[in-house]
Symmetry: C2
Subunit: 218 residues, 2 copies
């Protein structure tokens, strides 16, 4: 019974996702869905990317959280248009929520929107939200067995960011295990090693993102 | 529509949870639901607790994962009866799955069953599985803002374990923030500082768990 209902909800979600895509295409906006576990470092990564990209591109942010608004406040403090989307208990963002919230952002004045999804390595991967690009974060402290355990999040993404990479000396993390498993489930997608603290790897990731921003502009 | 369906599923789940509770009570077994983010250290904590408890109690383990069986293999290698429960994509364990899997364990020869839930700081908290005790893990690398952002997981638990506590020197983690927010949402539940690596705090947590095991025995 549960599975049948899930399909109904998701079919509906896919339709709205396509509508969101059309709205964004009309404004030549690249929307990036940032996903990962709680504490993987999604907000810090977005903050670092804003620092790297804001000279060339006009950026907006949608901060998804079950509750609270600390992340949106962090982004707004950088002078970036930010909206907090509280899911009130739901474990992922759905396209309908994005459709409702988009008019709160100055769409005519944006090139790229980062959407920080709810911290969750499972459910967000199942729901398209009209994004042009998906980024999955895996932080070093989470461990090297996550691709096997949470395959969809690594299969259905456009790139993998190994985040908090500066923490490698303090954890037993077999990078070759992650790399091999990721290549198996998602052979053509790139992998980036990033530290938001030291900014290592932010430049390489920014180049990749800019390719997608330019694609949305053309 | 989605919310209505969720309630249907959960009502059903509560009924089965009560049935599981009765089965366990008939066998005087204390079942412990271990919840937390991916990579919070659930398997390592269970492994450490087995080391601490096995001299006095007969232990079984149910390892919940979306896919894979590495965790059950880790536990079985300790000579502990272990069953792997693969949810095949689902983001949490439901009572029905526990009901199906319990006969795979030697219930007449067990005092305590650890259930490692799917790594997820959201959904598992919504689903009772017939447990006597809930343990929520928050690892230091995940950050100190998680109680505000994922309130249900910290409200609806019997204790909070601050895990990977040996990592405190390497992360900016304001323990007083977590402590204050936890006390607000869950005033009577204890908080334990634990490192599975150094075994610090395992003894204190074991004493707490043993109280609950004895309760199930009486």
């Amino acid at each position: 019974m549960e599975i049948k209902v899930l399909h109904q909800v998701m079919d509906w979600n896919e339709d709205v996702s396509d509508e969101v895509k059309e709205t964004l295409a009309a404004h030549h906006i690249c929307m990036i869905n940032v996903m990962g576990s709680p504490g993987a470092g999604k907000t810090s990564l977005i903050t670092s990317l804003i620092g790297s990209l804001k000279a060339n591109w006009r950026i907006g942010v949608i901060e998804g959280d079950i509750a609270g608004q600390t992340d949106a406040e962090r982004i707004a403090a950088l002078g970036i248009p930010a909206v907090q989307l509280n899911t009130d208990g739901a474990c992922h963002i759905e396209a309908m929520s994005i459709q409702h919230i988009l008019p709160e952002l100055p769409l005519d004045d944006l090139d790229v929107i980062f959407v920080e999804n709810v911290g969750n390595l499972v459910c967000p991967a199942e729901f398209r939200i009209g994004e042009s690009l998906r980024i999955t974060l895996l932080s070093i402290p989470e461990g090297d067995d996550k691709v096997e355990k949470y395959p969809l999040m690594f299969t259905d993404t456009d790139c993998l960011v190994l985040n908090k990479y500066d923490m490698m000396p303090y954890f037993e993390f077999d990078e070759s295990r992650v790399g091999a498993n990721y290549k198996t489930v998602n052979p053509d997608a790139p992998l980036f090693r990033v530290s938001s603290r030291t900014k290592d790897g932010i430049q390489e990731l920014s180049v990749f993102i800019e390719e997608h921003i330019r694609k949305a502009q053309s």
